[in-house]
Each structure stands twice: as structure tokens, then as C-alpha cells.
Amino acid sequence: MSAMENADPLSQTHHVDLMLNMGPQHPSTHGVFRMLLRVDGEVVVDAEPHIGYLHRGSEKLAEGEQYHQVVTLFDRMDYISNFNNEWVYCRAVEKLMGIEPPERAEHIRVILGELNRVASHLLFLGTFGLDAGAMTPVMFSFRGRERVQALFEAVSGARMMHNYLHIGGLKEDVPDNFHSLMNGLLSELQADVEECDRLLTFNEVFVARSKNVGAIDLQTALDYGWTGPCIRACGLEYDVRRAEPYSIYPRFDFNIPIARDGDCWDRYFVRVMEMYESLHIIRQALKEMPEGPVMAGARRLIRPPKGDVYVRAENPRGEIGVYLVSDGTDKPYRVKVRPPSFCNLSALRQLVKNAYIADAVVILGSLDIVLGEVDR
């Protein structure tokens, strides 16, 4: 059912399109994002996204910091999945220097990274429900996310902006009661995810609001550089953890959930299924976690050899890439980040064309953007 059909009688008469400004201070834009909508009645004729309100010049700032200080800048890019962001940067420097982090550190990284994925998807679940008009799920999903944040605080000392992963391993070992904390968290989290899933996924109103809304075909999505859950919702089984395995992911057994239609509900559903897979990976990693050091040698000054490297990783929002250039000094020469939500967002203009204004909000929510990462 195309929204344009409803607008047809209007187009016979003389009328002008209305310009509608949405954002940057708007609760449904998930941050400081502004969209200029040209509307014809209730139908969006054209949309012009404006980004850059949160541009802090992180890439430039990184050139003035020493290698280990740059980790904090990566914390502040995708501030919903801090550990995944720290991880990809640390891997870039480690690859350039030829360092292998110890086994224990790799296991803890996987556990924290996957937990962060669950926390990020739970936040998405709640806010996406809000976008579609469901006020209750956000209460449940934030309760689950808060449990994860509490564990992060116990491990790293901070709820967000952890600065816990260091080049070559971790800042310090996890607390002694880590296993009991994790076991408690995992059972609670499994129940939380199941509860949110039951509450929202097949809710009739929710499905009506999100199914067949903002659909995109696979070829167009690839053309826009989509990655992560968004591209998997279009039917492509593509995950960097499987396609170009890094860290210790090849040892774990997990599925890559995909959907077929590439609409808002599919993007939501893929993320829900991913949470179960993440919990499955965490359980395996926790069982195999060895004792031992968490840092590959103690080094005060990090000075990688001259050269450049491109490292990829699967973030909750999609594929993140770091292109790092070293000139042999203790500061990076250039850090370029390929932010997944930047690429996903660039397709917004096409997605919201001919949709209703209310659906534009749902479509934007389904892309799960983090403006800190889009603007850097």
C-alpha cells in the first residue's frame, strides 16, 4: 500500500509543499540530528538530513594524543557500545605492532564486547518501541541494560566511558567474584531479553506500525554501504565475525540471524535474535576463560613502526573500520574511522520518501544511529 495513492486527489489541486523542521532537539531523533522534511499533507515528499551538531573533531584530536590516550576518544564515539569501540582501536594498534593479547584478555574482551552488544540492542528495543508508540517495553529493556551497566561498573569502575581495554590487553584483571557476577547476570539477562521479546515482537499494533515500512532491497542497501543488522535484515548473511574472523571468534559456535524483507520490523527482529546469540557466545567464553596475565608485557610508551593498517570489526550497529597511519612516533599520524551508522544514515533520504511523517520517525529509529559516531 503506497502512501502516495492517498495523496493523489490533493495533487490535482493547486497547493504548495510545507517545509517541516524536525530536530535537532527532538526526542525521536536519538540525539542531535536534524531532518528537514518537505511534506505534502501527511506524506513526506523529500527529506534533507543535517548532521554535524556533535562534531568534535575526534579524528583530529587523536593526532594530538599518545596512542594509549586515544582509547578515551573512541569511548566517546559510539557511546552506547564503548567496549566494542575501544576494542577495534586496540586491535588496530596491536596489529600494526604485531602484539598478541593474552588468552585471558581475549576471552574477557569477547565477553564484554558481546555484553555490550546485548545492552546496545536492549536500548534499541526500548527506544524503537517508543518510536512506534509502545511506552512500556522501554521500562523493561532499560532494567536489563542497567544490570549490564552495573557489571561494567564492577569490572572497569565506570558505567560508560570505561577506558578499560588497553593496547596489548586490559587495564587490570576482572574482580575476583567475576564468575558469580556473570552467572547471576546471565540468567537475569536471558529472562529480560525473553520478556522484552514476548512483550513487543509480535504485538499486533507494533507489527502494523513497522512491517512493510521503510523497506529497502539488498542491492540498494549494499550500494549505500549498509552493514550489520541493517544489511542482514535485507537477507544477506554477512557478519565480520564470520567473514573475516578476528580475536577468538572462530572458536565459538553462533548463528547469524537474517531476515528477508529489509523493512523496519525485520531490522528490529534481527537485533532481537542477535541478543540470544550474544548470550550464547558469552556462556561459551565464560566456560573456557583461562587464568593468566591480561597484558602482553608492560609498556609505557607505545611506538608502532611506520606504516598503515585497516582493521574491521562487527559493532552492534554494523561494521566499524579503523584506518590508522603511523609515522613511527608516539602519536598516531592519522586515525580515520568508518562509522557504521554514518553509512546507514546516508540512505535515510531515500527511505523516508513517500512515507508518512509518523513512519519517518519509525524508519529513523530502526536504523539505530548514535550521533556521537555519525559526527565524531
Binding site: I51, G52, H55, G57, E59, K60, L61, E63, G64, K95, L96, M97, G98, I99, Q219, T220, L222, D223, Y224, G225, L236, Y238, A243, E244, G297, R299, R303, P304, P305, G307, D308, V309, Y310, R312, E319, G321, Y323, V325, Y333, R334, K336, R338, F342, C343, S346, A347, D375, R376
Partner: protein, 171 residues
């Protein structure tokens, strides 16, 4: 210690670090692009080619459309300021064969200009606008190079090395 060791281990042959798969990608690329000068090399362990800036759009179009390479996604466009030149790095991905290729091209510092690839991949649109904002690279044929990350009327190119960290007027 480790740093010094890894410095010595740097291979002399630029292709020595490539895996079997990386060499396969380079041979496919050479096959598709026939008699162009490619200067194959390695971006650590990834295959890379260095080409003339004016060829970028044409080469990208061939690499995307030819079934032997089929680089259907553009991952990233990175601009690097080397003070005497600006280097553009294109990272291409083919999802059906799991191939990543880096294309590098050097632009003169005083007149960085090259043809756009936004007609090849839509993803290039925003990446190019970003490079235009931060590095002042001009992409001929791009539909709209208005500021994306910066505000209208911002002076200078903050990504470049010559741009100061602190000593400039805040908005």
C-alpha cells in the same frame, strides 16, 4: 623490545605479507584492469593498488561491475594529509567472495581534485562530502558538496595538519 623486533621483521618485498587470497584478489584486479599501471602493494596484510587520480572513477566502475571482482560495496574513503600531498584511500568490499581491496591515489597539495565515485556507489556521497569539509578535496561531478559535518561558512580545512588544534575562533 617488541617495537624494534617488529621493525626488523618488515618484509622487503611489498607483496610478501599478502596471503594466498590477497594475491588472488590482486591477480583478478590485474586481469580486469588489463594494461593499466597498478603498482600493486600491501596495506599490511591487505592487497592495495596505487593509481592515477584521474582514473579513480573509471577503475572503480570497472571493479564494481565486472563479475570477476564485483566490489559491490564501498567501505570507506579516507583522506590523509602528508603535508606535500593528500592521499585518498578507498576501501572496497565484495560481499560475495569476501574480498577487501585498498585503492590509493595521491593528489597535489595545492589543487586536490579528482572525479567523484558517487555515481558508482551511493555510499560515496557522504564520505566525499566529509573529505571535502575536512580536507578541501574537490570531487568533480559530485551533485552537492555543501558542508556536512561543519557549519556553513567555516573557514579552513580542520582535518589538515596545518590547521591548529586550539588557536582559532570558536563558533
Amino acid at each position: 623490545m617488541t617495537q624494534r623486533r617488529s621493525k626488523q621483521e618488515q618484509p622487503q618485498d611489498p607483496l610478501a605479507a599478502l596471503s594466498e587470497q590477497g594475491r588472488d584478489i590482486l591477480s583478478r584486479v590485474a586481469l580486469v584492469l588489463e594494461d593499466r599501471a597498478l603498482n600493486p602493494g600491501a596495506l599490511l596484510d591487505r592487497p592495495q593498488i596505487t593509481i592515477d587520480p584521474q582514473d579513480v572513477a573509471q577503475v572503480c566502475r570497472i571493479l564494481k561491475n565486472d563479475p570477476k571482482t564485483s566490489f559491490n560495496t564501498l567501505l570507506c574513503i579516507a583522506a590523509v594529509d602528508y603535508k606535500d600531498r593528500i592521499q585518498m584511500v578507498y576501501l572496497l568490499l565484495s560481499t560475495d567472495g569476501e574480498r577487501v581491496l585498498a585503492i590509493k591515489t595521491d593528489l597535489p597539495y595545492d589543487n586536490p581534485e579528482l572525479p567523484t565515485v558517487s555515481g558508482v556507489w551511493k555510499a560515496a556521497d557522504w564520505h566525499e562530502r566529509e573529505a571535502h569539509d575536512l580536507f578541501g578535496v574537490r570531487f568533480t561531478g559530485h551533485p552537492d558538496l555543501s558542508p556536512l559535518l561543519l557549519y556553513e561558512g567555516f573557514e579552513g580545512y580542520p582535518g589538515r595538519k596545518e590547521f591548529p588544534f586550539h588557536e582559532y575562533d570558536e563558533y
